[in-house]
């Protein structure tokens, strides 16, 4: 294993030290692993998210004006612990309650739930919205349900903009839920990422194989497929999204790299996605192309499509100033 690290144990503290050095406007608590905004606006709803590390810039890269107030990064691919989420919640609380944006994984849901109970004991009102936009997973009331993936970024941006405008906790939470309901994602990997402590890739693919419906933790997807030109891979992903929630009208598209994909390939993939969507009567009104929710050095892409309203466009366009998203400021 060759990685730009000092040792597997040092990966997270070193990355947090770097985040602090690069963004002096953020409070980065390396010891307790909490990233928060330096300034607090009294009476503003606080936004907290968190999850396993290895998905950078998610979530620490989305802390700042117009988005999250605090983030709690766990070990690589492992949810943060309740005390850590509680501390992030307290850092975000400005008297108007705190929204937890939680990706739907059993560990994240359980640890956030325990933290929310602890916060309520301290008289901080917490509302949780669970994001579950990955159409690759069969949804059923008897299973853990769909995973939360790229739709999380849209929810954090839209809810963060509403909170910045002074919306109350229930309104901010409802917007995050609306984004989740309007967002669908699908991912295909070309090769797996390597967890530093494990030292080898999460799964092995033959030269002509791709992992279809892969998750963001190197967990294998629902099936192996045959390697194909990008047009076909993007078409497969969009077919899956379209079958679950038909695309039409104005959409936001995130053509996301999983960490090990060159931007030149992502732009090629985005071109295919734009053509496909136009052919299906949808218009790409807003987009992101790049690495926004990664899986270490996994190669491949995920596509997130959010069906927009005028209100969602307005909140998406609102000023944001974070390490990973910055416009209008």
């Amino acid at each position: 294993m060759k990685k730009l690290i000092n040792s597997p144990d040092a990966v997270i503290p070193d990355a947090l030290r770097g985040l602090a050095a690069a963004h002096p406007g953020l409070n980065v608590d390396v010891e307790n692993r909490i990233i928060s905004r330096a300034e607090r606006t009294p009476g503003k709803v606080g936004l907290v998210s968190g999850g396993g590390s290895g998905h950078e810039p998610l979530h620490g890269g989305y802390v700042g004006r117009g988005m999250l107030d605090a983030a709690a990064p766990g070990e690589v691919y492992t949810s943060p612990v309740p005390d850590q989420i509680l501390a992030a919640t307290e850092a975000a609380d400005a008297g108007a309650g705190v929204l937890h944006i939680v990706k739907n994984y059993t560990g994240d849901v359980l640890n956030f739930r325990m933290a929310a109970e602890l916060a309520e004991d301290d008289d901080v009102r917490v509302v949780s919205v669970v994001i579950n936009d990955d159409v690759a997973v069969e949804d059923s009331t008897f299973t853990a349900g769909r995973r939360g993936v790229g739709g999380t970024i849209v929810a954090e941006k839209v809810a963060g903009a509403a909170a910045e405008e002074g919306a109350d906790l229930d309104t901010v939470a409802q917007l995050a839920r609306e984004v989740n309901e309007r967002s669908r994602s699908f991912a295909i990997a070309l090769h797996a990422g390597t967890v530093p402590a494990a030292g080898k890739p999460g799964f092995e693919l033959a030269g002509n194989e791709v992992e279809i419906g892969v998750g963001i933790h190197g967990e294998p997807g629902r099936q192996r497929g045959e390697f194909a030109p990008v047009k076909d891979l993007v078409g497969y992903a969009l077919d899956a999204i379209h079958a679950d929630l038909p695309v039409s009208g104005d959409v936001l598209v995130i053509m996301n790299g999983q960490g090990g994909t060159p931007l030149i390939e992502l732009y090629g993939a985005f071109a295919e996605a734009a053509d496909w969507l136009q052919g299906h009567g949808a218009t790409v009104a807003r987009n992101l192309v790049g690495n926004y929710i990664t899986s270490l050095d996994q190669a491949g892409f995920s596509i997130t499509v959010t069906s927009l309203t005028d209100e969602l466009v307005r909140l998406w366009d609102a000023p944001v100033s974070t390490p990973a998203l910055r416009w209008g400021v």
Binding site: S79, V81, T106, L110, R113, A144, A197, P220
Partner: protein, 208 residues
Amino acid sequence: MTLDTATAVAWITRAAEIIRADESRLTGLDAAIGDGDHGANLARGLAAAVTSLEETQPESPGKALMAAGRGLVAKTGGASGPLYGTGFRRAGKELGDGTDATGVGDALEAMLRGIEEIGGAVQGDKTMIDALAPAVAAFQEAAGNGADLHAAAVAAADAAEAGLAATVPLQARKGRASYLGPRSVGHEDPGAASTALIMRALAEVTAP
């Protein structure tokens, strides 16, 4: 023999040792159908539980299990932290003064109920419940037939290992393995594997 404070502490300490020793096997099981971190996470959580026992010097076996549970919640992360942590805290609360085989059986049942309650899994979902539920049933049956603590714990460990083996043909309905759908069939569940090790640790530390 009863589950006195020293034995309760020895249980957690021994569980930490054997999970650490088997960390790479657990991680391998998890890599096949999950995300490959179960061994490392649980080893870290149990090490924290042992540290918390050393620091708090609990005065009763129930308090020892509760302190271990708090350590697990605080340091494990993932799903296994809240699940095992809640399990040990509930077991500790239930244990009270009745620390013979019957009392420990009740505590193990409280552990099972706590994990079922927060995790929402039932037997057959290919989770730790598939090892824990038969272990608790075997423990209580043995205790009901007059077995001492060690004999009941051995019966529980054997049943947990059989429950683990029985997870191989199951399709996961909870946890990360559930994302694989039918591809989760044919593998041992890593959570059931760690539960079997924890029950084996109890059998070992109660040996005369």
